[in-house]
Symmetry: C2
Subunit: 342 residues, 2 copies
């Protein structure tokens, strides 16, 4: 089975300094993996000289003369940067030269370009962004995380159908539990979209467990594998969670940094604090998949370091192996057929 | 100056076990405070026998024969429980016998009853719920936290006008910085409601600083005093933050509870962990104000303990002292007048 990933080597806040070492680590870790690093060959060649020998036949450079800025408008990037590392990396997926693309570039430009180049899966109206959060039960998968700001019930339903295939693939669960994000668990709660989406989900073959509240993303009273939300709500919740983890980390550091005594105490419990940090390390949750497209695109956090970018590449490996795109397409077809029968 | 608060003594998960000791603590702490405990006098009398002597003239019982259940539907509570402790406590505010009411009861029923009994401030279309979150800068005030699920730009603007008066009162800041919760800071980001609300805020006399993202609630890159959001988004974000704090606390406990060695380490750093916990203790942030009504109503968390319920009563004391309702009414009038001039 082919396992080839195109890497937008120039993307992200740290560009080659992160994408190259992460790529080489992944090649070392998985001998079946092939990588195509897309970017300025003048910069890539000297830095990959020995690696191209070590990983001969598995690592290659694909030149792209341009680079999309982190703050560039998606429409401008799409219109003016036809030879950007991002665009070319996605083209390789469209042309069948790569099975997935990983980029730490500008989210809006990546989504616009991926949608333009790869097109949508028939039956899916809008792409959605899915990612994973740490929870007291392990992980929770959440979508949409910001691709859409106004979702109808039908969109939310489609997100659920797509998200379930990702959860099945990544978590190896047969029938993931799906919850719909709302401001209460009772049927009467929420806006019209979530109420109608709940009806669609109740009548589907999905393992829909009902409305869940914001705390279910990380620490609900029952385990939920997949939480479906409008992109506006999902994005705000994701960032609220990131901010809270950051704030708590900062308060904890303050408490241990207060004076000499607390600093010594911090040294004593360093291994415990490290194991704590490891469990909720955001770098281990890096990598969001764009769903609904006819090709796999994984978005890494722009500020990803080597470990985080590696996690994103490994997510792409997993989704390729599990043939997520094909499964989503099949599932969408089945869901639509079922709907027509009703 | 009068400082009288009616307490829905029967409300909350723990009823009298929490509301009585918290009330007595507050009477001890503030000798200007008067409290009216509303509820079943058969239960209240024996438990307050000595307190009624100790706080003669400052503590009284007001009988109410019914109690609103925590899961009771708001409309049923409003229709059928006309002599509930919640309803009677709010009636006391309407009748001028109390300056504010504090309840740990069912949020929906409290909002519906408060709105029905107290009526809206002229010029305000919808009530909103405001509360405080800990942040790396101190606190952030956020509204709406769930009173409304579909807000127009005008609603968001009204929330900002009202929220600013609360922040001024509670934080003693002259010109609070107001941010609008969105999925990006750029003008092009977000849905139509936030884009239009941004225009209203830019043209107002408020200290509007622009769009802020979900992380700004607790750990943004700039300090924001007040964050305005649609109730759906605000509620999900609030609960996501609560869940994350809970999850991180649980992971930290696990790390220190792993084995004998880590448990000993935990004992050594106990004072540090305690000071850390103190800083983000949710009980210190208990108490949400219902804004837009012609009277002060403070909602305590249903699961509040004595310390948390005390915080809610003290929030009521502060808002009474600062005459928040009068200031909101005046500010709304000014804002409307300004709008008509434009």
């Amino acid at each position: 089975m082919s396992l080839t990933i195109s890497i937008d080597a120039m993307g992200g806040d740290f560009g080659l300094d992160v994408t190259i070492p992460a790529s080489l680590d992944c090649l070392r870790a998985n001998t079946e993996l092939n990588l195509i690093l897309v970017g300025d060959q003048e910069q890539l060649k000297p830095r990959l000289a020995s690696a191209l020998v070590d990983f001969a036949g598995r690592l290659s450079i694909h030149h792209a003369s341009e680079c999309v800025g982190m703050d560039e408008s998606p429409s401008k990037a799409l219109k003016n940067k036809k030879d950007s590392s991002m665009r070319v990396a996605i083209n390789l997926v469209r042309d069948g030269c790569a099975d997935a693309c990983v980029s730490a570039g500008n989210t809006g430009a990546l989504m616009a370009t991926a949608r333009f180049v790869l097109k949508m899966i028939p039956g899916i109206d809008r792409p959605a962004i899915i990612s994973t959060l740490p929870s007291i039960f392990g992980h929770t998968h959440v979508l949409d995380l910001g691709a859409n700001v106004d979702c109808t019930a039908e969109h939310l339903f489609q997100f659920a159908v797509m998200g379930v295939e990702v959860v099945k693939a990544v978590e190896n669960i047969e029938n993931p539990k799906v919850g719909l994000l709302n401001i209460g668990e009772e049927d009467v709660k929420g806006n019209e979209q979530v109420k109608s989406a709940a009806k669609l989900l109740e009548n589907s073959s999905l393992n829909y467990i009902g409305f869940v509240e914001g705390d279910s993303l990380t620490a609900g009273h029952v385990k939920v594998d997949l939480i479906v939300a409008d992109g506006f709500v999902g994005n705000v919740a994701l960032k609220a969670i990131e901010g809270t983890a950051k704030m708590i980390g900062s308060v904890l550091r303050d408490a241990f940094g207060k004076n000499l005594l607390t600093r010594v105490a911090g040294l004593i419990v360093y291994p415990v604090l490290k194991s704590f940090k490891n469990r909720i390390d955001p770098r281990k949750y890096n990598g969001a998949s764009f769903l609904g497209l006819r090709g796999l695109v994984i978005k890494s956090h722009g500020g990803a370091d080597v470990l985080a970018f590696k996690t994103a590449i490994q997510l792409a490996e997993c989704e390729i192996k599990m043939d997520v795109i094909k499964k989503i397409s099949e599932q969408v077809e089945t869901s639509l057929a079922l709907r027509e029968c009703v």
